[in-house]
Subunit: 322 residues, 2 copies
């Protein structure tokens, strides 16, 4: 049972077919980066149509049981997720309403400070704000995944402490293994694990550094991460962006907040969209990744199953209500 | 089992207590007159809090079973309703999303023409528009009550024809019994009945005319309406506006669309808020109304039960899915 904790692909039937080819039981998509409530509702509505039009391949999941059922029926469960809290427009009550509309994962901040907390790219991190504590508590109450991936380190640690439910880093790597603003320090990762959380390790080239060289080296990184946080707290969160082009890249990086060039997880010397790593150009590569975890990195079958999806499944079952 | 098809009260614990004192199993409230999507979400969110704070008295219902369960537990089920389609902001996909958020009744137009159709106060009625047909079909699909109360006559008749499910006039009276723009012609009412719909008769003074004189005369009007549309198609829709003051009245009448004086269902000679009829100052008066239908208007116990709630219940069971 393979689960991808986060993708930002531009989905169409071909990409849905790739999910099936890879045997994915579940993937979290991205319905908002900077979008407000109305724009996110437009996108959720569009996903309802996508799900109806491709009902033989995918279904939108609201519960852990939905994921199991999708898997049993040979389809991939989509979890609706956002990479920002912009959809709730700083209204505590919208958390519950977006949950009603099927949203199951929300990253507290994207690349910039907001009313909830600081981002990993801000020079100073506010920590989790007064409103942020309310939002985390409300997300706990309704059963929505608190995602800390792009969130600043201090805000992230605050959120783990504030959260009654386990929280997630859906798509990042360990900073002690590759130094990058988007990656997470060992202190945060250990606190996350203590709270029952999961980190989805990203195959995204810009935050994998030398580990992206080959499937084997990346599986070595998985092994090293397991040494830091423990076997039960590591999953996959590829950050795959299939069919996402420059228009999407500029929206992700610049949104509506700036007119100047922004590099996101890239840099002036690496300004464009990062090429996908060779061993994960689409979710079709999931079975080979699982194989490599066993044959190369020396994980047993049960251990590999936890990393490839079992840990996410346990986590979802804990966080989602009903 | 008493059901009020429409109220626009400003609810607080005292008004909820009145619902209980009257033995109401269900009432449809009004969460929007002119409000847009975001404002309506604010209001729905506020209602979630109201429902939690007053969980001993009320609960928000999403299904006919929810209404039965509320009644069985000695609480009043609230159906979230709007008196306009402004919340969907002309987006077909928002119908499904507001249904997700619990909206179960939507009036196609309030007092003005909109993209869906004409209002009862417009000099010319566009009829149900191209978009309006899509909205009615979508409301049928998701299971939301199409309310024609303030809707223009031609648009209303079009909507009845376009709708696969029964539709409602939640709060109006028969125009052949009292001539008023807000009331409905016999042709529309007969078409409504043929389609399995229900009209909720209003105790609102401005549209009841001389029938408002006493409980007995109003029950005579019920009898006359039953003669027109049949016993299975008449219910109650008081249009009660408990604790609603001038601020609410001006918002209902003027919204954001005009700076000039508007009279709504009143007139220059009757400009203020209409005094509630003496026999329906709050829902506490429901049992006496039921009694009067039997003792004065000569309805049998089963007939009275249909008018006081049974017909709405059958209608809701048909329209709501799941």
């Amino acid at each position: 049972m393979y689960i991808d904790g986060l993708e930002c692909s531009v989905y169409d039937r071909e990409v849905f077919q790739e999910l099936r080819d890879g045997g994915l039981a579940c993937v979290t998509n991205t319905v908002a980066f900077w979008e407000d409530a109305g724009e996110t509702m437009d996108e959720i509505g569009r996903w309802r149509d996508l799900a109806r039009e491709n009902a033989d391949l995918i279904t939108i999941a609201r519960t852990a049981d939905d994921i199991e059922a999708a898997h049993a029926s040979g389809r991939t469960a989509i979890l609706l997720g956002t990479q920002n809290s912009s959809p709730i427009e700083d209204r505590i009550r919208y958390v519950e309403l977006f949950h009603d509309m099927g949203l199951r994962v929300m990253q507290l901040t994207y690349n910039n400070q907001n009313a909830i907390g600081g981002s990993c790219y801000e020079p100073h991190d506010s920590g989790l704000t007064r409103f942020g504590r309310e939002v985390v508590r409300e997300m706990n109450r309704v059963g929505m995944v608190v995602d800390l991936s792009h969130v600043g380190e201090r805000t992230g640690i605050d959120a783990i402490e504030a959260s009654e439910a386990p929280v997630a880093v859906t798509h990042a790597n360990a900073r002690s293994l590759y130094e990058h603003a988007r990656n997470k320090g060992d202190d945060l990762l250990r606190a996350l694990a203590e709270n029952g959380g999961v980190i989805g390790l990203a195959t995204y080239r810009n935050i994998s550094g030398p580990w992206a060289e080959s499937r084997e080296t990346w599986c070595d990184m998985v092994r090293r991460t397991v040494d830091i946080v423990g076997l039960d707290h590591v999953g996959i969160g590829t950050d795959l962006s299939r069919k996402s082009g420059d228009r999407e890249l500029q929206w992700m990086r610049k949104g509506r907040w700036t007119r100047t060039t922004q590099y996101g997880a890239g840099s002036a010397g690496n300004p464009g969209k990062a090429k996908p790593v060779e061993f994960m150009t689409s979710t079709r590569d999931f079975p080979a990744l699982a194989e490599c975890l066993t044959t190369h990195a020396g994980f047993g079958d049960e251990e590999t199953a936890k990393i490839m999806g079992g840990n996410w499944m346990r986590f979802y079952r804990h966080v989602f209500k009903g």
